[in-house]
Amino acid sequence: MIITNLEYLPGMTITAHLGLVQGSSVRSKHAGRDFMAGIKSIFGGELLGYTELLHESREEAVERLTLQAQSIGADAVLNVRFSTSGIAAGAAEIFVYGSAVSVSADGV
């Protein structure tokens, strides 16, 4: 499965469009993390807990996108885009979407 944010695949031809596929994940950290983030807001700097949290949820969202693409028999997902929205204090939704396609290699 190729996941890419290009609109084409180098060296390959798109043989069929299978529609939009998506994956999303809503996560939050435990209150302890939020408390530490509150303390950190006095000093400034990177909030590692939240970086980690968003990284994990992004991976999960991409995984769900991949699963959906596999279930409809796609070879690749093109033009993948990410979007993030903070839906509540300390919780964020990560949404990832793209076009599922079937491809064949050129000249094979």
Binding site: M1, I2, I3, T4, N5, L6, E7, Y8, L9, P10, G11, M12, D34, A37, G38, K40, S41, I42, F43, G44, G45, E46, L47, L48, Y50, T51, L54, H55, R58, V62, D75, A76, V80, R81, F82, S83, T84, S85, G86, A88, A89, G90, A92, V103, A105, G107, V108
Partner: protein, 154 residues
Amino acid sequence: MFDFGLFAALLVLGYSCGRIAERRHYQSIRKRESELADLPAIATKFPPRAGLYQQQLVCGSVVIGSDYFKSFMAGLVNLFGGRVRAFESLLDRGRRESLLRLKEQAGTVGASMVINVKYETSSIAAGVTTIEVLAYGTALTPLGDSTVQQVLPD
């Protein structure tokens, strides 16, 4: 009186810690930027030279919080309007850091460039100004023509 003392202490603490953190961060950003200068990350959709590439989606992200002093200054500027310099540097650090992390990930997969780079910024609600910057793009590793079979999808 105690309240004012606490407020002043937080301002001083925020100012000094925030400044030190920012200076260190900029030092580290500049150092890594020069180290990764030979791995270009560009915004075009097509590679500068046509050819066969192995591709992979790479991303880098960072969550940065403002300090007490910056938040206070921003609140002050907000009254009169104008440039909020305190937050400009915060966003600049976030953007550059996330691009560096993207390049680091591209480097570990052996890519020679990253194309179609896009940025995404969101403020995650944690009471104070906390921004998340995500940079993502397609890492390209050049392939010889003989390896065309390997790029076929499963």
